[in-house]
C-alpha cells in the first residue's frame, strides 16, 4: 500500500513537472509575443520622428548595409544558385523524358527555382549572413552603451538603427533574388550541358511559356516580406541581451526564429496564391 502511494506520488510529481514546464513554455511564448508586439509598436511610433530627422544621417547606414547584405553576398548567392540550378535541371532533364513529360521542364524550373527556391534560398543566406551580423552588432553596441549614447544625443534609436536596415535589406533581397533566378537558370543550363543536351531555344521557350506575371509579382512580394522580416526580427533580438554572455544566445535565437518565420511566410504565400 505504501509503495503504491509512493509510486502515485512520484507519478504525480512527474505530471506536475511536465505541466509546470509546459506552462512556463506557454507563458514564455505569449510574453515573447507581447514583447515583440510592443517592439513593432515602438517601430511604428518611431516614424513620428521622421519629421525631426534629417534623412542624410541614414544614407551612410543604408549604403553600408546594402553593400554588406547585397553586394558582398553576390558571390555566395551565385555559387549556391549555380549548384541548385544545375541540380534541378540535371534531375529534371534526366527523369522527365523517361515519363514523356520533357515539355514540362520549363514549368518545373519556374515552379521550383523562381517561385520557391530563389526567394527561400536567398532569404536563408541573407538571414545566416546578415541577420546574425545585425543581431550581434546591435547587441554589442548595446553592451558598449552605444545605443544609450545615441538616445542621449536625442536620436531615435529604433528609427536610426532599424529603418535603414529594413530599406537596405529590401533592396538587397530583391536584387539577390533576381540574381539567384538568373544564375540558377542560365548557369544551371550551362552546367547541365556537360551531361545532357537541351537546345537553348527550346530551354528558353519552355521557361518563357511557363513564366507568368503572377510569378513575378509573388516573387517580388516574397522578397519584400523577407526584406522587412529579416532585419525586423534580427534587430529585435539584437536589442534583447542585457549582459555580454547573453549575446550568443540571442544571436542564435534571432537566426533560428527568422528562418522559421521565413519558412512560415513562404508556405503562407504559396498557400494563398497558388492553392
Amino acid at each position: 500500500m505504501r509503495r503504491e502511494v509512493e509510486e502515485a506520488m512520484r507519478l504525480w510529481g512527474k505530471i506536475e513537472n511536465f505541466l509546470a514546464l509546459t506552462g512556463r513554455k506557454v507563458i514564455a511564448f505569449f510574453s515573447g509575443y507581447i514583447e515583440f508586439q510592443h517592439y513593432l509598436k515602438s517601430i511604428f511610433n518611431s516614424f513620428k520622428s521622421l519629421k525631426y530627422l534629417r534623412m542624410r544621417s541614414l544614407y551612410s547606414t543604408v549604403l553600408l548595409q546594402t553593400k554588406y547584405t547585397g553586394l558582398d553576398a553576390v558571390f555566395l548567392i551565385s555559387v549556391v544558385a549555380l549548384m541548385l540550378g544545375a541540380t534541378v535541371i540535371i534531375q529534371a532533364s534526366q527523369k522527365f523524358p523517361k515519363f514523356g513529360i520533357d515539355s514540362f521542364i520549363g514549368d518545373l524550373l519556374v515552379l521550383i527555382i523562381i517561385r520557391e527556391i530563389g526567394p527561400l534560398a536567398t532569404a536563408m543566406i541573407v538571414t545566416s549572413r546578415s541577420g546574425s551580423a545585425i543581431s550581434a552588432e546591435i547587441a554589442t553596441q548595446k553592451q558598449n552603451h552605444e545605443i544609450r549614447s545615441l538616445e542621449l544625443l536625442g536620436i531615435d534609436t529604433k528609427l536610426y538603427i532599424v529603418f535603414p536596415r529594413i530599406i537596405a535589406s529590401i533592396l538587397s533581397i530583391i536584387s539577390l533574388v533576381i540574381l539567384f533566378d538568373v544564375v540558377a537558370l542560365a548557369g544551371g543550363y550551362l552546367i547541365s550541358r556537360l551531361f545532357i543536351f537541351i537546345p537553348p531555344q527550346q530551354f528558353l521557350a519552355t521557361i518563357i511559356n511557363a513564366f507568368s506575371f503572377e510569378d513575378l509579382l509573388i516573387t517580388f512580394l516574397k522578397s519584400l516580406m523577407y526584406g522587412i522580416l529579416i532585419p525586423l526580427i534580427c534587430c529585435y533580438y539584437g536589442f534583447r541581451p542585457t549582459s555580454a554572455f547573453q549575446i550568443p544566445i540571442f544571436v542564435s535565437r534571432a537566426v533560428v526564429r527568422t528562418l522559421l518565420s521565413v519558412f512560415i511566410i513562404n508556405a503562407l504565400i504559396s498557400f494563398l496564391f497558388y492553392l
Binding site: R54, S60, Q141, H145, S149, L153, G154
Partner: protein, 255 residues
C-alpha cells in the same frame, strides 16, 4: 512654486530613489541658473552616479521632478525628450562612442541627424572641433584604434557639436591623464565661463574642477551633506568634505 520651476533654467525637486541601501537618493533638490556650473562629488554609492541619468531622464523610475527651460523632462514624451536632449547633452561615463564610425563621423553624427546645416557647414564645424580638441591625427580612426584621451576628446566634441545649453558630464576624467586632456579642460573652462552655458559634472576628484565650477555639492548615502560655493568648498571645515578630501578613514562617513 511650479511656476518658478518652469521658469528656471534647471530645477530639480525632491529627487528620490531607492533600489537598495547602497543605491539611493533622498529628496535631492537644487536649482541651476544659466551660466552656473556644479560639481557633484562623493563616495561610490553615495548617489552621485544617479544624478546625470535622472536629470536627463535616461532612467526615469525615480520620484520627484526635473524641469529644464520650462520643460517637464520626466513627464515629457519620447519625442519631446529627444528634442530636449539637443539642448541638454549628457557625456556619459565610458563615452559611448559609436565603434563602427570614425572620430569625424562620431562628431558629425548629431549635426547630421538634428541640424539643418549643409554638408559644408557640418564639415567646417567638425573640423573646428577637431582642431580645438587637437585630434586631427585620429580623425579617420575608429574609437578602438585611439587613445583613451582621444576618446574623451571625441566624445566631448560630439557632445558640444550642437552647442547645447547644458552639459552633463559624468566622470569625464575617469582613467585619464589630466595632462593629456588639457584641450578638454580648456574647452570646458571656456564653456563654463560663458554666461549662457552651464555644466554639471559628476566626479570623484572635485578639486580638478575648482577652476570651472562655482558650486560644489557632496552627497553621502543619497543625501546632500555639503552644498557651497567654490570659496566655501576650498576653505570648508565640513567634516564630510574634510574626510573625503584627505582620504581619511576617520570621520562621519563609513568607508
Amino acid at each position: 512654486m511650479l511656476g518658478d520651476m518652469e521658469n528656471s533654467f534647471l530645477s530639480v525637486r525632491n529627487m528620490s530613489y531607492m533600489l537598495d541601501i547602497h543605491s539611493t537618493l533622498r529628496g535631492i533638490s537644487f536649482d541651476l541658473k544659466q551660466g552656473d556650473n556644479i560639481v557633484f562629488f562623493g563616495l561610490e554609492n553615495s548617489g552621485i552616479d544617479k544624478i546625470c541619468p535622472f536629470i536627463s531622464c535616461a532612467i526615469d523610475d525615480f520620484d520627484g521632478d526635473v524641469f529644464f527651460k520650462g520643460h517637464d523632462v520626466k513627464n515629457a514624451s519620447y519625442f519631446e525628450r529627444n528634442i530636449i536632449r539637443k539642448d541638454m547633452v549628457y557625456l556619459q561615463r565610458g563615452y559611448g562612442l559609436i565603434t563602427n564610425m570614425t572620430v569625424y563621423e562620431n562628431i558629425a553624427l548629431p549635426l547630421r541627424y538634428h541640424s539643418k546645416m549643409t554638408s559644408d557647414e557640418i564639415d567646417f564645424r567638425v573640423n573646428q572641433l577637431i582642431d580645438e580638441m587637437e585630434i586631427d591625427l585620429s580623425r579617420d580612426m575608429r574609437p578602438v584604434d585611439i587613445y583613451q584621451s582621444e576618446r574623451l576628446k571625441t566624445a566631448f566634441a560630439r557632445a558640444i557639436a550642437l552647442n547645447p545649453d547644458l552639459l552633463l558630464a559624468e566622470h569625464p576624467l575617469e582613467a585619464q591623464c589630466v595632462l593629456n586632456v588639457m584641450s578638454v579642460m580648456r574647452s570646458l573652462k571656456k564653456w563654463a565661463d560663458s554666461p549662457l552655458k552651464s555644466v554639471i559634472i559628476v566626479a570623484y576628484n572635485p578639486a580638478v574642477f575648482s577652476d570651472i565650477a562655482n558650486r560644489f555639492i557632496m552627497l553621502y548615502r543619497g543625501e546632500v551633506v555639503f552644498d557651497g560655493t567654490r570659496e566655501e568648498f576650498l576653505s570648508t571645515t565640513n567634516e564630510y568634505v574634510v574626510q573625503y578630501m584627505t582620504f581619511s578613514p576617520k570621520g562621519p562617513m563609513m568607508v
